[in-house]
Amino acid sequence: MADMLRPLTALGGHAPAELAVGLLIVTERFDVALASVAARRGRMADLARAVVKTGLPLPEAGRHAAGTPYSAFWVAPEMWFVEAPFATHEGIAGMLKGALGDAASVTEQTDAWVALDLAAPDLAPILERLSNVDLRAAPDGFATRTVIEHLGCYLIRHGAGNVRLYGPRSSAKSLIHAIEGAATATF
């Protein structure tokens, strides 16, 4: 029985999927814990004080900030998504809640998303087929919400050939299918 209950990744495997189409390599990540942090009304100053001790970066609009253990990217005014290593921060929401108190509302997000790392010499031709994002004009550390294959996704540019995507987990296979299609058309 126990071996029938092995956890599955978002794409349905026992191990994270890795897929190559032409020059594009897509790697599924399941070692990232996620939570959202939103300042409560009128409490932004308290939140800004609390994150200093926690080592949690709160980047400005449209940006990602890397840190250890917490990285974060902006999603809405006074709201951020926080990333941390899953191995040490599986209970990320509880840990952040403990650190931030009632200055912010924290929501567990880990299992709501599929995390995909996209790597290619140049991702712009693929992403311009998939979304509105102008990857060429965007600087490194750019983070935005966008639509790919009718799915609301978060896109973070770490480099011209290095992008992290967060898509809705229950549509992970549709998202991969769209990426495969765009990569096939590109290469």
């Binding site: 449209g62 005014p77 509105n132 935005t144």
Partner: protein, 94 residues
Amino acid sequence: MIINHPILGPRDAQEFVYLGDAALMGRPDGMTAGIEEFHDWLYNRDNPAGEHRELWYHEQGDRSWLVVTRNTVTHEILKVELARDVARAMGRAK
């Protein structure tokens, strides 16, 4: 059509949802304003050929509400503000 989002810069209108006349923000108090005023707010809309203040919601972005001043004849966008700032300027608390 490109909407110049006050926080995020130019974004395609495809990312937004149109939510009607910005006059909807000024809902009268149903308990003190008369029935006529409330009826007017709820059912009556101007349909100008020209400048129009509209509510747009950045659904596929940061979920902010915007007040967009747009020319309905030419689709030229004259001004984009955060609805929150407009509401505060109207004297609302949030």
